[in-house]
């Protein structure tokens, strides 16, 4: 068991090296050099060469990659080209914002997907609704769902503010009013995926013997569904939470831009538009590393909870 977990943990290192190298080398290969990216093609060759020399971008890529990784491990991601603050300073205050809406969206999606698909009363109506909503959530891009919600709740009904951000210190109610639509927007896709995954497992579990026993004991349909089937069907959803992190970051980028939320996703778009190489690279690297780590974590959790797949 421990050995297995250890072996899985070790795979993080090669995987992490491969994805970070892939990102680093492909971006650097595509842009020519960071100085060229920032100064534009109109800049003189001397100016580009000078800036590259200042920042050490004229050395071999492999040296730059190793140095980048080495410094990143100590928390040093360099300085932003545009604001000149350190990248860590730019990222850190924005991290809680993205974490808050990300975690809230995942929790909401998990809760809604499992509850909505377990309801036993008026099942003929509720089930197709849950599935239909899931398909909408999976297929529609985030920004379209967001715009639909803004139009409905802010423009037409006037219940909620449309875009913008209010930190906690401006009042809890005010804060919640501002995060509600972004969280709903971000959770739509995950609600969809979780629902489809959950329904498949739920339907399979329902046919198992212990469910029939529970019914024979005289439990009501609702009790059987929520107390016996639900806990036994939720595992694939939990695994999916770990696997959806990449999608979550993609969704956060769009959602934060749409609602003008000061999070990591919005910062990534800003840095790309401003051609701010250090910030862009740092966020890209953080995202791919987090995804690799979370995928491995999901793998390990799954192995621990489900002994059947401990074979290899």
């Amino acid at each position: 068991m421990l050995a297995l977990v250890g072996r899985r943990l070790l795979t993080v290192i090669p995987s992490g090296l491969i994805v970070t190298a892939l990102l680093f080398f492909s971006v650097n290969g595509l842009i020519g050099s960071p100085a060229e990216l920032m100064l534009g093609t109109d800049a003189t060759l001397e100016a580009i060469a000078e800036l590259n020399r200042q920042h050490g971008f004229d050395r071999p890529l492999i040296t730059q990659y190793l140095e980048w990784m080495g410094k990143a491990l100590t928390g040093d991601f360099g300085r932003s080209f545009t604001t000149h603050q350190t990248v860590a300073e730019a990222i850190l205050p924005r991290l809680p914002v993205t974490l808050e809406i990300g975690i809230a969206a995942i929790v909401l999606a998990t809760f809604a997907a499992t509850t909505f698909s377990s309801v036993t009363s008026a099942r003929v109506v509720v089930r197709p609704m849950a599935t239909g909503l899931a398909i909408v959530g999976i297929t529609l891009p985030n920004f379209i769902i967001g715009i639909g919600l803004i139009y409905l709740f802010s423009v037409e009904l006037g219940w909620l503010p449309s875009i913008g951000w209010a930190p906690w210190r401006t009042g809890i109610i005010n804060h919640l009013q501002h995060v509600l639509l972004p969280i709903l927007t971000l959770s739509a896709y995950f609600y969809g995926v979780f629902t489809l995954v959950y329904q498949a497992e739920y339907d399979a579990v329902r046919r198992r013997l212990f469910v029939r026993v529970a019914k024979a004991k005289g439990l009501s349909e609702r009790q059987v569904s929520f107390r016996h089937v639900l806990p036994n069907s939720i595992l694939p959803v939990i695994t999916y939470v770990g696997l959806s992190l990449g999608q979550l970051m993609g969704g956060a980028v769009v959602t934060e831009s749409l609602f003008s939320i000061p999070g990591i996703g919005g910062l990534l778009v800003d840095s790309i538009v401003a051609r701010d190489y250090p910030v862009m690279m740092a966020i890209g690297m953080i995202v791919v590393i987090t995804v690799v780590v979370m995928n491995t974590a999901a793998d390990i959790v799954y192995t621990i909870v489900n002994p059947q797949i401990r074979l290899d």
């Binding site: 379209i144 715009i147 639909g148 423009v155 980028v253 538009v273 995804v291 995928n295």
Partner: protein, 270 residues
């Protein structure tokens, strides 16, 4: 495994989901193809009445530069469809051979390929596409290249799984016993039996690519203006949601119908 391809040909026409998808895609393709004769205004020429609400002349009103929204939505379908179908074609061209070889050859080559493929799948496609597109500059060709590059691993994984299953069947064993070479068996037996999966995945890749390219445009790294493009239209319409909501809502509905249509086509199971 016999007849997998056949049942796919017979099967989906009986499925309402497939037919609905077919109808949606048919309508979108037709409207985009006939945009020249259907659009009553030049989609890029500014008019004198900006942000006018829907009326008899401009059925969905005009945008902030007075351009007719109906005409822009009609023309906006072209880049979306081209990018979606182009990216899916590229994705199939890369993914299918890799999947077939990995699945049929198996062993160490398969393990290595699949580890790389799984790794690539775990990297968020939108973020990768966002960074690369911003670097190489948004154009129709670049978007096709980027999205094809982002989507091929899923195709490879699916095809590989199917190839692996078919490799173990009796008719493949018989073909091998009859002296068939690897390349011949893959072409004559494995590939035909993966066509159904390739076709459905093609449709899903189109949906994903349109989804992603619309998101890129929305973020401001899509096809540059003034070319009408759905994601870009939503982006500029967002500022005028209270004044003229159709500016953002009409292209949103267009994206929704197109993506949903391709999703329906691709997710129909026998």
């Amino acid at each position: 495994m016999r007849g997998v391809g056949k049942s796919w040909r017979r099967g989906p026409l009986g499925s309402p989901r497939f037919l609905v998808g077919l109808g949606m895609i048919g309508a979108v393709c037709l409207l985009s193809a006939l945009a020249d004769s259907l659009a009553r205004f030049d989609p890029t020429r500014s008019g004198v009445f900006p942000l006018s609400p829907p009326d008899a002349t401009h059925w969905l009103g005009t945008d902030e530069l007075g351009r007719d929204i109906v005409s822009r939505v009609l023309y906006g379908g072209r880049p979306s469809l081209l990018i979606g179908i182009g990216a899916a074609a590229l994705s199939t061209l890369i993914g299918v051979p890799i999947g077939l070889v990995a699945g049929y050859v198996g062993g160490r080559l398969d393990r290595l390929t699949m580890q790389l493929v799984n790794l690539l799948i775990s990297v968020p496609g939108l973020i990768l596409a966002l960074i690369i597109t911003a670097m190489i500059g948004p154009s129709l060709t670049n978007l096709v290249l980027v999205l094809g590059f982002v989507t091929w691993p899923r195709v490879a994984r699916l095809v590989r799984g199917q190839a692996l299953a078919i490799r173990e069947t009796v008719f493949v064993e018989a073909a091998r016993a009859a002296g068939g070479g690897a390349a011949w068996i893959v072409r004559m037996h494995i590939l035909p039996n993966t066509l159904a999966i390739i076709a459905t995945q093609f449709s899903l890749t189109v949906a994903y690519s349109i989804f992603t390219s619309a998101s890129l445009s929305f973020l401001g790294v899509g096809i540059p203006p003034p070319t009408p493009d759905w994601g870009g239209m939503v982006r500029s319409g967002l500022n005028y949601l209270a004044l003229n909501p159709t500016m953002a809502l009409a292209p949103s509905v267009a994206v929704a119908i197109t993506v949903l249509g391709f999703f329906f086509l691709g997710s129909t199971r026998k």
